[in-house]
């Protein structure tokens, strides 16, 4: 099944050309979307997603849902990328080295259980 708008966004991130949507007032949001969730403006443009983000909060999930059965334990984090925040799975960084403020880059990986593509954070090379 395809998810128009979302799939294209993931593909762009995978190609290193991630973007977010900006409204005339400068609010950021993620596709698929037809209006700004913050002010309702319908004029949205694609702007480049910052290359790195900062971890705002995270958790190591020990009890997964079936769609992550083969991943547990895994770290999920919310990270800030300029005007938008993304939620993704942290890879290539041990759980005990993830912290608030950790700088990460965003990419796309594969869910080992479902083969679905997913947002992945990796330690950013300084």
């Amino acid at each position: 099944m395809t998810d128009t708008g979302y799939d294209e966004w993931l593909a762009a991130i995978a190609d290193g050309e991630g973007y977010y949507l900006a409204c005339p007032d400068g609010h950021g949001s993620l596709p698929p979307r037809r209006s700004c969730p913050h002010c309702g403006a319908a004029e949205l443009t694609e702007e480049p997603l910052p290359a790195t983000g900062e971890v705002l909060t995270f958790t190591e999930v020990h009890v997964p849902a079936p769609n992550f059965a083969d991943e547990a334990p895994y770290v999920t984090a919310v990270a800030s990328f300029g005007p938008v925040r993304l939620t993704g799975v942290v890879r290539d960084l041990p759980a005990d080295e993830v912290d608030l403020g950790t700088t990460v880059s965003v990419g796309v990986g594969e869910n080992a259980t479902t083969d679905e593509r997913l947002v992945v954070f990796r330690p950013a090379s300084e």
Partner: protein
């Protein structure tokens, strides 16, 4: 505007009843509420019913008419789905309907059957209350979502796992006097701290159990209560609802729940009271951190102060502001779609004086219920007041 009175309440025992159908559970609660109310069957005009995962658990959509039949009633019945706030919004609609004058007698309630699914399937089913594209696909389970909020809270305001453990200990202790609660087992702070990690910093004892159960409330207008001489001392004097972005990532604060603040402010204004007037509260503690966020959103504590309330003994049975005397979702149990009205049932009994823990609040006049959906993307708050 018509005053709304609670004429009757009913519950099933909360717990693991994998063999019992949803309609059987709801029938038990609804018949108990009807018996408690003593209202003629022909006078029921509408049913407002909450349920979250019925399609997944029982492959049953369109549950309204099924549940009306189960309740032995012949009237329109509508299902409300708002994740864990399903029965809360159903109750709010019931209140609005009587206030508008459109009906004098309605039944509000909810039901959830969960234990016939395995833990993994329940985890998956609950996760659909989160944002599917942006959270579920990134591995966010429900405990995981609240863990994200707990870590953000500790970072913003302080507090730690031991503070949360005190909340679990308190709610388990309160459940000891509640015959309808899922757990009748006291725990210690060490038990909680040593329980297996589910999604750090949350452990097993920070989480509510998987619960089957149903709840029901009969609501009547003042006029109807008077004409029929009903003994209905508890009124619903305030109702409020608030909303927020579905995904945590889209909210400015990860350690606050403004949807509940909006719901509380609206409910207080509706009732003409403020947080200082609240004598007792039943809040949505699906996880221990959720009780903290609830207390702060309700204005009962400043941001950063709620986390230590149980440890300081302020929200315990003997404290100034007992919270979750029912045992809360943590120990009473959390049949998701039934919880909102279950809180109303517990609060009504606490205020009427026929709850196992009523002796903890003998002079209570004002009670508040707080029911949250998802990671509080939805919140419903009600104010209940008793004639004294």
């Amino acid at each position: 505007m018509t005053n709304v009175r609670i004429a009757g309440v009913g519950l099933t025992k909360f717990g693991s009843h994998p063999e019992r159908t949803g309609r059987d559970l709801f029938a038990e609660a609804a018949l108990a509420a009807r018996e408690d109310a003593g209202v003629s069957r022909d006078d029921y005009e509408e049913i407002f019913y909450g349920n979250f995962m019925g399609e997944l658990a029982e492959k049953q959509g369109h549950q309204g008419p099924v549940m009306a039949e189960a309740a032995g009633l012949d009237c329109p019945a509508t299902r409300y789905e708002q994740a864990c706030a399903s029965a809360g919004v159903a109750f709010r609609q019931a209140v609005a309907t009587i206030r508008s004058g459109a009906a004098d007698v309605v039944l509000a309630g909810g039901m959830e059957r969960m234990n016939n699914l395995g833990t993994a399937e329940v985890t998956q089913s609950l996760a659909i209350a989160a944002d599917e594209l942006f959270e579920v696909r990134a591995g966010v389970t429900f405990p995981g979502a609240y863990a994200l909020m707990a870590r953000a809270y500790f970072d913003a305001f302080g507090g730690d796992s031991e503070d949360l453990a005190h909340i679990a200990v308190k709610n388990h202790a309160n459940a000891m006097q509640n015959d309808y609660a899922q757990f009748h087992r006291e725990i210690t702070v060490d038990d909680a701290l040593e329980s297996p990690v589910v999604a750090d910093p949350l452990s097993l004892y920070d989480a509510c159990p998987i619960t089957d159960g149903a709840s029901a409330v009969v609501l009547v207008s003042d006029d109807y209560a008077e004409r029929h001489g009903l003994d209905a001392p508890v009124s619903v004097t305030g109702s409020g609802q608030g909303g927020d972005k579905a995904a945590l990532q889209d909210r400015p604060h990860l350690a606050r729940t403004p949807a509940a603040t909006k719901a509380a402010d609206a409910a207080y204004a509706d009732a003409g009271i403020g947080p200082d007037d609240v004598d007792v509260a039943e809040v949505h503690d699906c996880f221990t951190i959720a009780e903290v966020l609830a207390l702060e959103s309700l204005g009962l504590y400043d941001h950063g102060e709620g986390v230590g309330a149980a440890a300081r003994g302020e929200t315990t049975r003997d404290g100034d502001l007992p919270v979750n005397l029912s045992g809360g979702l943590k120990a009473k149990g959390h049949p998701v779609g039934a919880t909102g009205t279950a809180q109303v049932v517990e609060m009504t009994k606490l205020l009427r004086g026929d709850h196992g823990n009523s002796d903890a609040v003998p002079d209570a006049r004002v009670g508040v219920t707080h029911n949250a959906g998802g990671t509080v993307a939805s919140a419903v708050v009600h104010v209940l007041e008793v004639d004294r």
